[in-house]
């Protein structure tokens, strides 16, 4: 089966410890490794895991991944105001910025050359069950916008993670959060 080479997907996610930044990236590569020839996931965080800065660089590609560092992502997910200050400028002109509008106001963006997708993700997550699944709402939105991976694949990648196995009931909640983000219309 001759497969067409897919476009390389590069994503940067930034927030603080405990928001699930790294988990989002992890789900992407778990699902992505079934579809793309190569994937990479690079975490960067402060010494203190709780409340410290966290950034995750994700690449899905059919080509060899030369560098796992993504300097100019086409998509950027921002989960808090400090991350906005630190990372907004790296987004490529014409790129897409996905923000949790409950945490960061769209006015903070201050860039005209990008598309801003504001998702009230924390509120949506809370209305499903808990703000702990805010990351999945945002991930759902990213999947819809980028078409990087099918929703079902990412949803099933969650079943492979040990946290999900531990809490069976949580799995459906997680998948609900992912779908909510995916189906959220601005």
């Amino acid at each position: 089966m001759a497969e067409e080479e897919k476009e390389t997907m590069e994503l940067v996610i930034a927030g603080y410890g405990g928001q699930g930044v790294l988990t989002m990236g992890d789900l992407m590569i778990k699902a992505g490794s079934n579809v793309y020839k190569h994937v990479s996931w690079l975490p960067s965080y402060d010494t203190y895991t709780r409340g410290g800065r966290v950034v995750c660089y994700v690449i899905l590609s059919d080509e060899n991944i030369l560098s796992p560092l993504v300097a100019r992502p086409r998509t950027l997910v921002i989960m808090d105001p400090v991350a906005m200050d630190l990372y907004r400028d790296c987004l490529m002109p014409g790129g897409t910025l996905i923000i949790d509008s409950c945490m960061v106001s769209p006015e903070m963006v201050g860039r005209e050359d990008i598309e801003v997708i504001a998702v009230p993700a924390s509120e949506m997550a809370q209305s499903i069950l808990t703000i702990k699944i805010t990351n999945l709402v945002l991930l759902g939105k990213y999947l819809k916008l980028s078409g990087a991976l099918p929703l079902e694949l990412v949803a099933s990648a969650m079943t492979k993670s040990k946290e999900a196995v531990l809490k069976d009931g949580f799995l459906t909640i997680n998948q609900e959060a992912l779908s909510a983000g995916y189906n959220y219309a601005n």
């Binding site: 203190y48 895991t49 709780r50 409340g51």
Partner: protein, 255 residues
């Protein structure tokens, strides 16, 4: 409800504390230890001569709250550095170390044993939280039998990794030690005892008698993978059962 003016202040901020926001986790007792040390320093009026020496671990962060000169050292090496400072001021400085169980009981055990054995006039505040907090909840020398940690995933097995280390008792057995106690800060009564113990340990140094050692039983909710309240109860139950509180040595002369 009674009016504002009828309230009586029973407890104020110690003079010796600076209100740095500590980056410790919710439910961590390390900050309370720092406060207790501040109160003891206030009680004894030794702030101007006190110098803090800290090891490596979360306990080191709490030194930021104590408004004295401080120095940070390599992992486990505080007693040696403290000796240098003490000797540099020909004994006039009041030097104390902040050390965790990994820092003091594992990597730095040799250092502290030798400092105590030399009969150094120093005071060590020992934070026992039954494991390594800072590096993410690995087994430490004070991890109790059967306790699951990230490096004892099947529970601490004495056949493989030995026994919980009782530092306060061990220190008491050394001839250079003038004071050794294990204290809790889980309630007001114990807290008052802890404050007294820290004062006594400092007093041995001030009176030029010998080494003073106070072991605090602490918590580490994320390291133990427990919620703050669960961690607190586990400390009261499991840790206090293994580690009896008490004074193990209090002498006016080392011989």
């Amino acid at each position: 409800m009674s009016g504002e003016d009828e309230r009586k202040l029973i407890c104020d901020t110690p003079d010796c504390i600076n209100n740095t926001l500590l980056p410790t986790c919710p439910g961590c007792l390390h900050g309370v230890v720092a406060r207790c040390v501040c109160e003891a320093i206030d009680d004894l009026g030794i702030q101007e001569n006190a110098i803090g020496v800290v090891g490596v671990g979360c306990h080191a962060m709490t030194a930021g709250a104590v408004e004295v000169d401080t120095i940070s050292t390599a992992h486990g090496r505080a007693p040696g550095v403290a000796t240098g400072i003490k000797r540099a001021y020909y004994g006039e400085a009041i030097v104390f170390t902040f050390q965790g169980d990994g820092d003091l009981g594992a990597i730095g055990l040799g250092d502290v044993l030798n400092a105590v054995n030399r009969g150094e006039k120093l005071t060590t505040i020992f934070f026992n939280n039954a494991g390594y907090g800072n590096t993410g909840g690995q087994m430490g020398p004070t991890t109790i039998e059967g306790q699951v940690t990230t490096t004892s995933p099947y529970g601490r097995d004495p056949a493989q990794s030995g026994f919980p280390l009782h530092m306060a008792e061990m220190m008491a057995s050394l001839r250079g030690c003038a004071y050794s106690a294990r204290v809790g800060i889980n309630n007001l009564k114990n807290y008052a005892g802890a404050r007294k113990a820290v004062k006594a340990a400092f007093q041995k140094q001030m009176d030029n008698i010998g080494y003073g050692f106070v072991e605090f039983l602490c918590t580490c909710p994320p390291g133990w993978k427990k919620k703050p309240d669960e961690a607190f109860h586990w400390m009261e139950k499991a840790m206090m059962e293994e580690y009896q509180l008490g004074e193990f040595k209090n002498v006016d002369e080392i011989t």
